[in-house]
Amino acid sequence: MLSRIYSQALQSLAALAAALLIGVFVAIIYDVTIRTLGFQPPSWTTTMSEYAMLYATMLAAPWLVRRRGHVAVESLVLFLQAGARCWLERLVYMLCIAVALLLCFYSGELALQVYARGELDIRSVEAPRWLLFAVMPPSFFLVAVEFGRFLVGPESYFVDRTQPKEGL
């Protein structure tokens, strides 16, 4: 039950990220249309689009770990014997968890520091600077949880590379 709610939460965050990308598309079309018609274009579209890039990336990050979507060079891992591969995979998961938790902590600290100082991020419109970091702690925490699932669970992050994967 708890697992299902958690999975749906990850899906919802990804859906929100996708909605942000659609929002950027709509905002830019709106901006250019208004400008072409000779009206004053809104000043928030640029800043909103810039922030959306960060928020979409961070909101989708845990979902991408679950989908094995963060690109990795699997070649060596897949060639290893089962025992060695298992140990190497565990080492990789633990390193990823450590990195994600460290970034979760320090991004939270930075968000609190700039909030306390009342810093502003000056772009096409002014925004409170803590907004740049606020999305990172929960995102990195969930990324750590997702790598944790690979660490203790039966599934592997590394899959057959002949299966179609997304990329540029």
């Binding site: 990308l21 963060h70 690109v71 740049l132 002949t162």
Partner: protein
Amino acid sequence: MGWETAAALLLGSVVGLMLVGMPVAFAFLTVNIVGVVLLMGGEAGLLQLIANASESVTKFTLVPVPLFLMMGELFFHTGLARRVFDAFDCCFGRVPGRLSYVTVAGGTAFATLSGSSMANTAMLGSLMVPEMIERGYKKHMAIGPILGTGGLAMIIPPSTLAVLLGTLARIDIGALLIAGILPGLLLAACYAGLIYTQIRLDPLAAPQYATERVSLGQIVRTVSINVLPMSLVVFLVIGLILGGVVTPTEAAAFGVLGVVILAMAFRCLTWSSITKSMTSTLSVTGMVFMIIIGSSTFSQLLAFSGATSGILSMVSGYDATPLIVLLSMLVVLLFLGAFMDQVSMMLLTLPVFIPLAQSLGFDLVWFGLLMLLGLEVSLITPPFGLLLFVMMGAAPKGTTLPEVALAGFPYVICTLLVIGIVVAFPGLALYLPGLMG
């Protein structure tokens, strides 16, 4: 610590972590964390790393990345791509090797509407390979054109990779996108020439088969309905950038709008096609931007440790000609591409390559295009070129990796030839950007 040690440790650690299977973004982050603690001083360095990470992707110039991806995905998932292929299929009549030519023509057309070489290859593989094998085409005639044409999406605008390269290397993105048009078309023509030669040498490689006779009227009608409307989208993206009417970001948004309008006109914009397109768009955007976030402090670390300036002094100390340095950089790309994805390669090499290119007085648009061509070659270089594996997924059962790599080899030669031509005649890349308004 000397710059040699710092460079070896920084570059070696990232490559080492990647090789043991750590996701690329996290490999960069791990090295950056250790690097800032050692070189930039503990907690302050870590906070700087976080600040750099958030700044790295909050850039308006990166917005075309998801939009170009969205455009290509919608084009594919709504079935508009299939219509273009069917139209080309109708045009080629009974030409020997028609399906290989259809692959090159359709793949080039798709490249003008999609920014992703992986998507291009996967689509061409799923659409063309089954039919070519059924028609008795030899494997190299089925696989080779797809491997070659798949990579065209990186060169012909809208190229997502060109947007990334432009943003990361601070090259004029509009100019870099437009610079890819002529070399991209030349490459497609070379591929067609290659297919012609292969069929002349071995006519049984692509056996002729009976096709329905199509009248000129039918061809005109099919092309008018299925290809001409797509050119509206190409005009929206390329024409508007070339004319200097809008920025690449705005052109990308209008490109998406164009595909949405077309899909609505053809009544193929379904909820399922939208969700599939958005899922793919988000996956690639999230993956690429996470690597950018991960590597955001890497170039600073290289500069801070003296590695960047050390490498630059070393190269200038060799007294090598600019051409030799350029070729060396391309060789490095080919080597890295054998086991790494293009975004990682760019992020690993740009901190050194761009200052080097500037110090040698290279035009950065020209150099950026050569890098893109080098990246394209590296995608089909064995043993681990990514497109080889995408192709393995679409190839008939029993196809081995050496067979796929061998099928792609003549196309690698074609691309190297075009690289040579662009090096010898920079105008091929720089003529169109020079016309920009």
